[in-house]
């Protein structure tokens, strides 16, 4: 299959959905001739024109709120928030309006909108342009939250999001935009709510999403050389979360590492630990579930500090090794 970049896959999903459904349009800051801060929408305005590829004023609350208003009366807007950090500016419209409208109105409204937004660190853009705020939006009933890790999923999940009748927030890690992978031409979708086992293994389950999937696979390769067999789960969909896939894997391996770039403290890794502990997998745990996440600091500018602020492949390797050691201790648990 042909290989394209993650950014191209997102663009292709947008173009195909706009061709398929006249109700779909995209809106955001500098997404037209500029092509977006990361070039994701480059060229789309040429095919679809400024009415369907709308350059908006510099107003995140208005972008998200007008998307919600357009959705509730029948359009299917896809809004881009240039950096996910700026979701904080449109948070009321996303959380108090878009997410709750349907329920507050007695289940009688539909808000089919998507918010796409680049997230994460690694570009030296510092504390206000590098956050991972998925947990915030996972915590809000009425929203769906996606974090595709591959170009294939970037296209397939975005199409599912656009066709979904609910507000969906899609986090796209900046470092993924240039990664390449096989992506079918033409139409296909990836269902929302299904995790995928990216690598099968028997000793440890590593549960990851977005950029951390790539780092987990890298860690798994290294650990294989040491004879540690790692199963890597790509969550893909953060809300709804695919508990079954997680639990089945942990029942098999008896060991789990949860890794995300979002701050570890009060991050969604806790939800996954809780899900494992509440499940039958608890009885199969040979060692405590380990969480890896962002350190308790805003993302720093200096590249060494920035790298140290979030989990890297070597941290995942170390965590898995520790887990293998510890589980021997666990055998003699009181």
């Amino acid at each position: 299959m042909r290989e394209i970049t993650y950014a191209e896959a997102v663009r292709e999903a947008l173009a195909e959905e706009m061709r398929r459904d006249p109700r779909v349009f995209i809106m955001g800051e500098d997404i037209g001739v500029y092509g977006g801060a990361f070039g994701v929408t480059l060229g789309l305005v040429d095919e679809f024109g400024p009415e369907r590829v709308m350059d908006t004023p510099l107003s995140e609350a208005a972008i998200i709120g007008t998307a919600a208003g357009a959705a509730v009366v029948g359009m299917r807007p896809v809004a881009e928030i240039q950096f996910s950090d700026f979701l904080t500016i449109g948070a009321d419209q996303l959380v108090n309006q878009a997410a709750k409208m349907r329920y507050m109105f007695g289940g009688k409204a539909r808000v089919p909108m998507v918010v796409r937004t680049p997230a994460g660190s690694g570009t030296g853009a510092a504390a206000q342009h590098s956050q991972s705020l998925e947990t915030w939006f996972m915590h809000i009933p009425g929203l769906k939250v996606l974090a595709p890790a591959t170009p294939y999923d970037a296209k397939g999940l975005l199409k599912s999001a656009i066709r979904d009748d609910n507000p969906v927030v899609v986090f796209e890690h900046k470092l993924l935009y240039r990664t390449k992978g096989p992506v079918p031409e033409g139409d296909y979708t990836v269902p929302i709510g299904q995790a995928q086992v990216r690598r099968a293994g028997t000793d440890v389950t590593v549960i990851a999403s977005s950029i951390m999937v790539l780092r987990s696979l890298e860690a798994a390769d290294r650990l294989a050389e040491e004879g540690i067999s790692v199963e890597v789960i790509d969550l893909r969909s953060l809300r709804p979360l695919d508990a079954d896939t997680i639990v089945a894997s942990v029942c098999k391996t008896g060991r789990a590492v949860v890794v995300h770039e979002a701050n570890k403290f009060a991050g969604f890794g806790g939800e996954i630990v809780g899900t494992i502990v509440e499940s039958e997998a608890f009885d199969f745990l040979d060692a405590p579930v380990v969480r890896l996440g962002g350190k308790d600091v805003p993302i720093p500018y200096n590249p060494q500090l920035e790298r140290a602020a979030v989990p890297q492949a070597e941290d995942i390797v170390a965590a898995c090794r520790r887990l293998m050691r510890e589980s021997r201790r666990a055998a003699v648990r009181p």
């Binding site: 609350a61 357009a70 509730v72 029948g74 309006q97 507050m104 109105f105 289940g107 009688k108």
Partner: protein
């Protein structure tokens, strides 16, 4: 009809039946609110609500200027907007009682009454929260090639919100078919407009966005109708958004928690002297559109209608707790 009114309504193209309809609508709102307050005192409505009493001319005059399939967005003080837009009073009453058959299946209550299919995009608990929604609905109307217009109600307090600013600029940039109608009832909770806004002349802000602005007497239903009508016609014909300010007054406390410490009895009394309903009634009677008997009959019919709604609501079932999670996702 006495000349003054005749000339005016002639110009506005308002036939006597419509004048009577508007009068009845104002009475229905007034009496609905009085009964809601009574039911609350009697412990039969809970939660919170914000009474529209004193502002009836704004909702009725404004909505009368719309076509049936135009949209509105409403506010926390939204009962009057809903009724003016044609909401069923029994279903509103059922919602305030938290009943399964209420507009929001008892999930929303006073601050979230909506009827999207009928063009009411909802009351809103967030001050200014409905302004971007209205703007987006207007954007959609244009994209869908509909000639619909969106009427966006909000209060003077909402003018200080960033959402107001971002959304009005957005509509101005794209010349969207939306009419922003600020109900300046002199206070945002306890904050008087003159202290809450650097420039208390709200309509004057239209210039900041390059759109037309106008101030109107919010206690004069025909003046509101005329101003909104003009703005709606402009919006429908591609002329873009308008910012209107209707000056009026809230007779009751902001909500049940209000002890009215921030304003004087005299001020309240003075505004009550300018009751929008009595004023319109006097015009209509003087003009011979209504007789004293008509007035009494309408009052009686409205009382009966609302009484019936209260009884209807009383008999409605509560939501089934097992259905708690229904309606979160489509």
């Amino acid at each position: 009809m006495a000349d003054a009114l005749a000339v005016q309504t002639e110009r506005l193209g308002l036939a006597p039946e419509r004048l009577v309809h508007m009068y009845r609508q104002m009475r229905r709102i007034r009496h609905f609110e009085e009964e809601v307050d009574r039911l609350y005192q009697a412990g039969r409505i809970w939660g919170t609500f914000h009474l529209y009493i004193g502002q009836e001319a704004v909702a009725v005059g404004a909505v009368e200027a719309l076509e049936p399939d135009d949209y509105i967005t409403s506010t926390h003080r939204g009962h009057g907007h809903s009724i003016a837009k044609g909401a069923s009073i029994p279903l509103m009453m059922a919602e305030l009682r938290g009943k399964e058959t209420g507009y929001c299946r008892g999930r929303g209550g006073s601050m979230h009454i909506a009827d999207v299919d009928a063009g009411n995009l909802g009351a809103n608990g967030i001050v200014g929260g409905g302004i971007p929604i209205a703007t987006g609905a207007a954007l959609a109307c244009r994209k869908m090639g509909l000639s619909r217009v969106v009427l966006c109600f909000f209060g003077d307090g909402a003018v200080a919100q960033g959402a107001f600013h971002e959304a009005v600029n957005f509509a101005a940039v794209f010349q969207l078919p939306v009419v922003y109608l600020c109900e300046n009832n002199q206070y945002a909770m306890s904050m008087p407009v003159r202290r809450g806004l650097g420039n208390p002349d709200i309509a004057a802000r239209a210039a900041a966005y390059g759109i037309p602005g106008k101030t109107v007497d919010g206690n004069d239903v025909l003046a509101v109708y005329a101003a909104v009508r003009e703005a709606v016609d402009r919006a429908r014909s591609g002329g873009g958004p308008t910012l209107l300010e209707a000056r009026t007054y809230r007779w009751r406390g902001h909500s049940k928690s209000d002890a009215n410490r921030y304003r004087t009895r005299e001020e309240i009394e003075a505004w009550k002297q300018r009751c929008p309903i009595r004023r319109f009634e006097e015009q209509l009677v003087a003009a011979g559109v209504l007789s004293a008997a008509d007035v009494e009959r309408i009052a009686q019919e409205v009382r009966e209608e609302i009484q019936a709604a209260i009884e209807f609501a009383e008999q409605q079932p509560d939501p089934d707790v097992s259905a708690l999670a229904e309606g979160v996702y489509a």
